[in-house]
């Protein structure tokens, strides 16, 4: 079942001055439960693609359909609300709310969803346990290592029970052990909860563990490989 489908997606920055073609007619379909890496050199359009899929940016042309909803047609609070209930985000720089503890950061999106207290508390405990941070619940981001912060970010992304998680270079700021740990956790959640992950990365270790690798170059899909082809090509 398709969770995301992009149709002839294009994005041009500065169309009136010096146009930069970040995406050139990208057609991509993501099925439920995929663990997909978007790879490519800097400036190939990875972040732009993720931003447009996540409804953080609008395409110049083409469309993104998430389970039947064309998100470019949503505006303002409707779009924010759509993101809240359908998409989980993991950012390269973790981007947790610095004044909230790990537990409060994970709970935050559920509060925005106005979920009942009992459900929130149970899910926060379960998610922090799943990312191996059940002993750090009351620590603020500044008291956690980069790897731990990114694991909290993964727990936060999953807290809202999204249809998929978008992760923009999630291991870029992590050492190799933390990166491996994070990948283990993401893969476990992918397998156990059938959660769809789409992430951009340069990291060869991450690419090797992806089930599907989509390579972008100059805003176009150059290669689209599945798991058994990955090890041969990367």
């Amino acid at each position: 079942m398709k969770v995301i489908e992009t149709r002839n997606l294009s994005k041009i920055y500065n169309p009136d001055k010096v146009p930069v073609h970040a995406l050139n007619g990208v057609n991509l379909a993501i099925e439920r439960g995929e663990f997909t890496a978007i790879v490519g050199p800097s400036g190939s359009g990875k972040t732009t693609l993720l931003n447009i899929i996540g409804g953080l940016d609008n395409p110049t042309s083409g469309s993104v359909v998430v389970e039947g909803t064309e998100i470019a047609k949503l505006e303002g609070n409707a779009l924010i609300n759509f993101r809240l209930h359908n998409i989980g985000f993991v950012f390269q720089a973790y981007n947790l709310i610095p004044v909230l503890t790990a537990k409060e950061n994970v709970e935050f999106v559920m509060l925005l969803q106005t979920r009942p207290k009992g459900e929130r508390e149970a899910r926060v405990i379960a998610l922090l346990e799943a990312v191996g941070l059940s002993d750090k619940t009351d620590k603020r981001p500044s008291e956690l290592s980069g790897g731990q912060q990114q694991r909290v970010a993964v727990a936060r992304a999953l807290a809202s029970k999204p249809k998929f998680v978008l992760a923009d270079e999630p291991t870029a700021n992590l050492d190799s052990i933390s990166a491996e740990n994070l990948l283990d956790i993401m893969l476990k959640l992918n397998q156990e909860e059938n959660m769809t992950f789409i992430f951009s990365t340069h990291d060869a270790r991450v690419i090797r563990r992806a089930r599907r690798v989509v390579t972008l170059e100059d805003g176009r899909i150059k290669k689209d490989l599945v798991q058994n082809e990955v090890s041969i090509n990367f």
Binding site: D57, N77, I80, F91, N95, I97
Partner: protein
């Protein structure tokens, strides 16, 4: 809501130095406003009390002719009967009648223009503070012929003293000059210097006889039990005396200079408060704008993960309001304690006493501020804080999450 408040409060303490500077400046602003208003209100209240209790009373009655020309013969029709009926009114604490005229006072070597105020000693004592202002000698109820009370300043000017004789000269109703000797029974002091120099008090009974209009009065003054019933009483009295040649006025109409000072002080209070609040508002806007611009990326993340614009707006407003309230509450508490202390010790304004006394103010005042003024200041600070938060909050709403996330700061 609770989470937004929690985030807002914790955000305040992310940069404790900056927040404390803002809180401190807010506290100083509120404290200064409270103290200035307490001083000015107390001066105002004191001036009003002085004017009303010492000279004007709450209500004054004159003949229409007297209001046009303040001449001795323009008396209130049937003054003795009218005075009794006013004294018997349930709202009235005391009332008195006066006979007023301009004249000249002369001692052995000096003379001066004065307003001669013929008063009924017992009734005047019950209605005004004249007797309490005696600084030397005796009151007009002394068992002696033609006693007179003069101000201390006038006594110095005439180079005379208590027990000595002075001559009063004035024009009677037949336009003849009348000169009679009076003996100084006592001296009085007044908060207004010009009153001490220009007013003399004699018995109305003797003055009216000398003027050729025995028993008459050209001014009736009433003091009410409850000044809050002034408007009702004045309108009732006007209704009762409708069609007669009598003008009924409350103290504001009878003493427009006092009313003007009262208005001026109120306007000054408002202007001072507005200036302080404006200064606070700019400080708040500056700080919060800086806080918002610094957190552009974070606000973008909040919007990306699903925080809608209303919540982002509310969070900034909460943060600003909490920051302002913390400073305002501190300033209010400090202001309250300062006013309490100043009320106990008194504030000596002797440096400005010459100017102040001209307006009827005392040298040492004991400031106090009504509870409702504290409430008004609190509400004004909250409104200012909320309004000041709008601009930074609107700037926050204008951000694009994807651009904000890309920002490096």
């Amino acid at each position: 809501m609770w989470m937004l408040l929690k985030i807002a409060w914790r955000n305040i303490w992310r940069n404790p130095t900056r927040s404390l500077v803002v809180m401190f400046s807010l506290a100083i602003g509120v404290w200064a406003t409270v103290f200035i208003l307490a001083i000015s209100d107390s001066l105002h209240a004191e001036s009003l009390r002085e004017g009303i209790e010492y000279k004007y009373g709450h209500v004054q009655l004159h003949s229409r002719a007297y209001k046009k020309r303040q001449e001795l013969g323009n008396t209130v029709p049937d003054a003795p009967e009218l005075l009794i009926s006013i004294q018997e009114a349930p709202e009235v604490e005391a009332a008195t009648a006066r006979l007023l005229t301009a004249g000249m006072i002369a001692s052995a070597g000096y003379s001066s223009n004065v307003q001669i105020r013929g008063v009924m000693p017992a009734e005047e004592e019950a209605t005004t503070l004249l007797k309490t202002r005696l600084t030397d000698g005796e009151y007009l109820d002394v068992d002696r012929r033609n006693p007179i009370i003069i101000g201390e300043k006038l006594m110095e000017k005439l180079k005379t003293g208590v027990g000595k004789k002075v001559v009063l000269t004035f024009e009677n109703t037949a336009s003849e000059l009348v000169s009679t000797s009076f003996r100084i029974a006592g001296t009085f002091t007044a908060t207004q210097v010009r009153d001490e120099e220009t007013m003399v008090f004699v018995r109305k009974e003797g003055l009216s006889r000398l003027a050729g209009i025995p028993g008459e009065a050209n001014e009736l003054v009433a003091k009410l039990k409850d000044p809050r019933k002034l408007d009702t009483f004045v309108s009732q009295l006007k209704g009762r005396l409708a069609g007669q040649e009598i003008v009924v006025e409350d103290w504001e109409q009878a003493a427009p200079d006092m009313a003007m000072v009262s208005d001026m002080i109120f306007q000054t209070d408002v202007i001072v408060t507005i200036i302080v609040l404006l200064a606070l508002a700019f400080g708040i806007v500056n700080t919060m704008l800086m806080a918002v611009l610094e957190r552009f990326k974070e606000l973008g993340i909040l919007m990306a993960v699903g925080m809608n614009k209303l919540r982002v707006f509310a969070m900034i407003v909460f943060e600003t309001t909490l920051l302002s309230l913390a400073g305002a509450v501190g300033g209010m508490a400090f202001g309250f304690l300062t006013v309490l202390l100043a009320n106990y010790t008194g504030v000596n304004l002797s440096l400005f006493s010459e100017g102040l006394s001209g307006w009827g103010f005392k040298e040492v005042i004991h400031p106090e501020l009504e509870a409702r003024v504290y409430l008004i200041i609190t509400i004004a600070v909250i409104i200012t804080a909320v309004l000041a938060s709008f601009y930074p909050a609107i700037r926050a709403l204008a951000l694009n999450p994807s651009e904000a996330i890309r920002k490096e700061i």
